[in-house]
Chain length 278, copies 2
């Protein structure tokens, strides 16, 4: 029986592309939010959820981080890095030169600003609520229109692809994580994601001492960031990605030391580091 | 002559509320984006820009951070902390019990989820592009509708306020910064905001050593976070807020040490710490 994988829908999103890249044979279940996709796994309605966690240009997906910190009991069992390729889509037969308005999500419009100025200098841009919604807005438009959206949306909506890979900067990738009831066993090339906060307002050196536990053992941090605790401005939850598996001896010892300094402590999981297939 | 202050419009936004709280006598100039508001100051069309930088629930305003890192030559000369009070607005005479649809920006909908479930259990929720756009969507709706928006939007659009302060968590505040050609002189109770990145991929202890320069001088970090460098996943720009003025001797020395370790280094400015008026 194929796995059931929950993702942020509707079909055609980059999240669906990530599910297809992860397991083309899986049964795909779209949900209206990242939270709903995770809840489906917690309730046994899906085996795993694939959710975006970080984009190389836009930064962290804060909905996902806040859910992992505050709401979810799931673990990260895998990471995936998916290239984001924006396309110009238009109704069948629409000529690019006649386009008067371009729809997309504001992030995508921002990532293609130079392309739009060069190729659609006279078109207005209109923000849509998602790249897939932009295709629907484009189809409903009374004026000649285009949408910036994923390649896959073109197949699903039966529209033309006027151009591909139009983002202004190369190397636009999004990191997705797979959420499940358990994390992954040790492979020898792993990462571990944790979250923690301190009891009192930041005293000089509190975070510094915690980081020393990793630095002094030669453990690499691949990411550090802070999220608001939601209690008051200036109180933070720190999110750190570390090289190694939580069962590797040096990391296990460092985690125990840091845990003892914190008031909130959560290991999101250990999982194999993503390596692009050769 | 009154100051000209640029902000993210249209009139009615929380940004306009922040300008009013900062200087009620200023000439207010709305702009369609944070970037456009800052550009107005750089071009001499406005004296200062007031822009949101951090919310106690949603976290950083990444548009503002990325602009300060990559695009702007302006300095932070002041910070303001403004309470965010969401209101339920409706057409004049609309009864709450008959409301079938509630419009707002997705952030505001998220911050009022419990209130909506308790008070509007049968209403659908629809995401709008901003809280002010939500009021326009509500006015254009064919079905009985409400909008979650700032108090000030009610005055501007001549609509009713059905409820105030409806956010699920108290203490919802947004920190704004004032951008100008220069930062502020020393007051004895100041903060300094900086951004930096390292030349090579994170080596264990690189950030740790930089933080040691502050910790070992007893300098408090009120915030640390990372933003993508936009070059590749896993390369970050670190943003740190520090207690003290860049001309205070201990901080001046620490900044010089850290600057020498970095490949990218930017002091956004020193400015008086915000204190609520008694």
């Amino acid at each position: 029986m194929s796995r059931r994988i929950a993702y942020l829908g509707p079909p055609g999103t980059y999240s669906e592309q990530a599910v297809l890249a992860y397991d083309g044979a899986a049964e795909r279940s779209p949900f209206p939010s990242v939270m709903a996709a995770a809840a489906a796994v917690e309730q046994g309605k899906a085996d795993e959820a694939v959710v975006a966690i970080e984009n190389s240009i836009e930064g962290s997906v804060t909905d996902t981080l806040d859910m992992l910190i505050h709401d979810s009991r799931l673990s990260i069992c895998k990471e995936l890095v998916i290239p984001i390729d924006h396309c110009v889509l238009a109704k069948l037969g629409q000529r690019a030169a006649a386009v008067e308005v371009v729809y997309s999500h504001s992030n995508a419009l921002g990532q293609c600003r130079e392309y739009l100025a060069a190729h659609y200098p006279r078109a207005g841009v209109v923000a849509s609520l998602s790249t897939v919604k932009a295709v629907e807005d484009m189809l409903a438009s009374a004026r000649p229109a285009a949408a910036i959206a994923p390649r896959r949306a073109a197949d699903l909506y039966k529209v033309d692809v006027l151009a591909e890979g139009i983002q202004d900067r190369g190397g636009n990738v999004t990191r997705f994580v797979v959420l499940a009831q358990h994390d992954s066993p040790r492979t020898g090339d792993d990462k571990t994601s944790i979250a923690f906060s301190f009891a009192e307002e930041d005293k000089p050196g509190q975070l510094y001492r915690a980081m020393g536990e990793f630095a002094n053992r030669g453990i690499n941090l691949s990411k550090i960031e802070s999220r608001p605790s939601k209690e008051s401005l200036g109180r933070y939850v720190f999110l750190v990605d570390l090289a190694g598996h939580r069962e590797d001896a040096p990391l296990r010892d460092a985690l125990a030391q840091v845990a003892s300094m914190t008031i909130m402590w959560k290991i999101f999981g250990s999982y194999p580091r993503f390596r692009r297939k050769a």
